[in-house]
């Protein structure tokens, strides 16, 4: 009797979870199917899983718009943003966690405060500064304003302060410099937080739209997200090309998430719960 009830519960549980999973997954299946359809099959019966495998769509989509160039631009931008956010956040977090200097708490408070400022409230002045610097349509505009992250500094500082100070002292007695302590002791011990930050900043950079939209006008400087949005406006009726482009733009962030999933989820719950 008890066992049977348990069994029914299980079936119900799986049924509900599967139902929601299907809703979540359906759009992905749909774009995959669409992206592999030949043009003439667009209005054929709506299959849910790919029945055609017209891989040429991908090639044709890449030729219809300079997707390779968009990919290159996005990769350059993302690499610099991730590297910058990790290195500069680690440096700042180290200063806040380990060094004593006047004004430390006030500065930390100001840095935290910048997290509260919505981007939309500062995008006009940021644009004007980039304009004044002559950075419109350059990688500088895409990269420099996003090289540091208050969230990253906060995340790493919270992690650094859990590392025993005795380790620093021991290293210091052995003749290790401050920089040596950061790179050889603190960072290797903080890999969970550092890799979570790297994944966060990757996803942020790869998927960002509004800032590139403002500072990039030249088609050759577009990021993948910009390119996709513009492609949609121009080739909106060529569904199969559009979907092929969409798939190629989406795959990297999903792959990065799947590879770093454990760290990423840990990072989210850590910072999410600590607020």
């Amino acid at each position: 009797m008890v066992k049977k009830r348990f069994h029914n519960n299980r079936i119900f549980l799986y049924a509900v979870l599967l139902f929601f999973s299907v809703i979540i997954i359906l759009p992905y299946l749909w774009i995959l199917t669409m992206s592999l359809k030949p043009v003439r099959a667009i209005f054929s019966p709506p299959y849910l899983i790919p029945v055609n495998f017209h891989w040429k769509n991908y090639l044709e989509a890449w030729n219809a718009a300079p997707f390779a160039r968009f990919y290159f631009n996005t990769t350059v931008m993302t690499v610099f943003i991730v590297a910058g956010q990790v290195i500069f956040s680690a440096m700042a977090a180290y200063a806040f966690a380990r060094l004593k200097f006047p004004g430390r708490d006030i500065l930390f408070f100001i840095f935290l405060g910048t997290m509260m400022v919505p981007f939309q409230a500062i995008m006009i002045p940021s644009y004007l500064i980039v304009l004044r610097l002559g950075w419109i349509d350059t990688y500088y505009a895409l990269i420099v304003p996003r090289l540091v992250s208050a969230f990253g500094i906060f995340l790493l500082r919270q992690y650094f302060i859990t590392i025993p100070y005795e380790l620093d002292q021991a290293a210091s007695i052995d003749g290790c410099t401050k920089l040596g302590i950061l790179w050889q002791i603190i960072i290797p011990l903080s890999m969970p937080a550092v890799s979570a930050l790297a994944i966060f900043s990757f996803l942020f950079a790869w998927n960002d739209f509004l800032w590139p939209l403002i500072v990039i006008n030249k088609p050759s400087m577009r990021t993948i997200q910009l390119g996709l949005a513009m492609f949609q406006g121009k080739y909106g009726t060529r569904w199969n090309y559009l979907m092929a482009g969409t798939v190629t733009a989406t795959v990297p962030s999903i792959v990065v998430f799947l590879l770093g999933q454990k760290r990423f989820i840990e990072g989210i719950t850590l910072t999410g719960l600590k607020g």
């Binding site: 299980r10 549980l13 979540i24 939309q120 500062i122 002045p125 540091v148």
Partner: protein, 292 residues
């Protein structure tokens, strides 16, 4: 000696962050405030100081109140459905069974998917003629509406995308919260004869209320700042029914180049976010006092 060394090291380590934050975060806040008191088209060298006129123009404009209403509608929809569904699924996932982590992964994938890509897909899923949604409805002989070109339905479609994208985040945070509840509470309650419904309302819900408060605040902030998907899917239409405040700001700044007027919209957005964050502090301190 040692203190001096610390100050020098701190200066070097903080310099990049201070420069970038100073130039692209802190200065822009002040500059934005200044611009909001000016009339400026961006072409002339400087703007003209007009005091509070931008703000009074905004308060008198129908567009602004429409945008505010539309944005609140969107925000309320995302927050309500995202939190309710997130909690429901998290409760189902909060037990040991084979395949649990696979489900969690599936639910989370939309969170990391590009909003632009998702918006493009949504646009075509909700196509009145050949989109899957209407094909599905036709199968049951229900005539589907013209989703994105209907003033009634465009916003619910946007909300459905937002919930789909946000759900996984809410689930993961709720799961972490549920797992931190000590099983003893449930054991005691069961001994006392409390059924599953009573246990949910008397134990689970009160104990995770600080997490609910936090998720509500985060959801309010993120949804209030929505831009990308609206830009791609409806661009504010039809008839301004999805003209969220971010779009109003973008249009005034980068289409009409009313930089002063747009800056004052930016300052109002800042004020709203500030108020919500302020609420968060109150909520969280209440949470800490009770149980968390």
């Amino acid at each position: 000696m040692k203190k001096k060394e610390d100050i020098l090291a701190a200066t070097i380590y903080l310099l990049p962050s201070v420069i970038v934050f100073g130039l692209f975060n802190i200065f822009p806040v002040l500059y934005s405030g200044y611009l909001s008191f000016n009339r400026w088209d961006g072409l002339s060298r400087t703007g003209k100081f007009i005091g509070l006129q931008n703000y009074s123009n905004i308060i008198k404009s129908i567009e602004f109140w429409n945008s505010l209403g539309v944005t609140f509608y969107y925000t309320a929809g995302i927050t309500f459905f995202g939190i309710a569904a997130g909690l429901f699924i998290a409760l189902l996932l909060n037990r040991r069974f084979p395949g649990r982590t696979i489900f969690r992964t599936i639910y989370f994938i939309p969170v990391v998917t590009s909003t632009i890509a998702a918006a493009i897909v949504w646009k075509y899923l909700f196509d009145p003629g050949s989109g899957y949604i209407n094909i599905f409805l036709r199968f049951f002989h229900i005539p589907g509406p013209d989703w994105l070109t209907s003033t009634t339905w465009a916003m619910p479609v946007l909300i459905s995308l937002g919930v789909w994208k946000r759900l996984g985040f809410n689930i993961v945070i709720y799961l972490a919260g549920l797992q931190s509840i000590s099983p003893e509470y449930y054991e005691v309650a069961e001994v006392d004869g409390a059924g599953p419904v009573t246990r949910f309302f008397r134990i689970t819900l009160p104990l995770i209320s600080p997490i609910t408060a936090m998720l509500v605040i985060m959801s309010l902030i993120d949804s209030f700042l929505v831009f990308d998907q609206v830009f791609v899917m409806t661009n504010g239409g039809p008839l301004y029914s999805t003209d969220v405040i971010g779009l109003l700001l973008y249009r005034n700044a980068f289409r009409y180049f009313k930089l002063g007027y747009a800056s004052s919209i930016g300052m109002i957005i800042f004020l709203v976010i500030f108020l919500i964050t302020f609420l968060q502090r109150r909520f969280l301190s209440i949470g800490e006092q009770s149980s968390w």
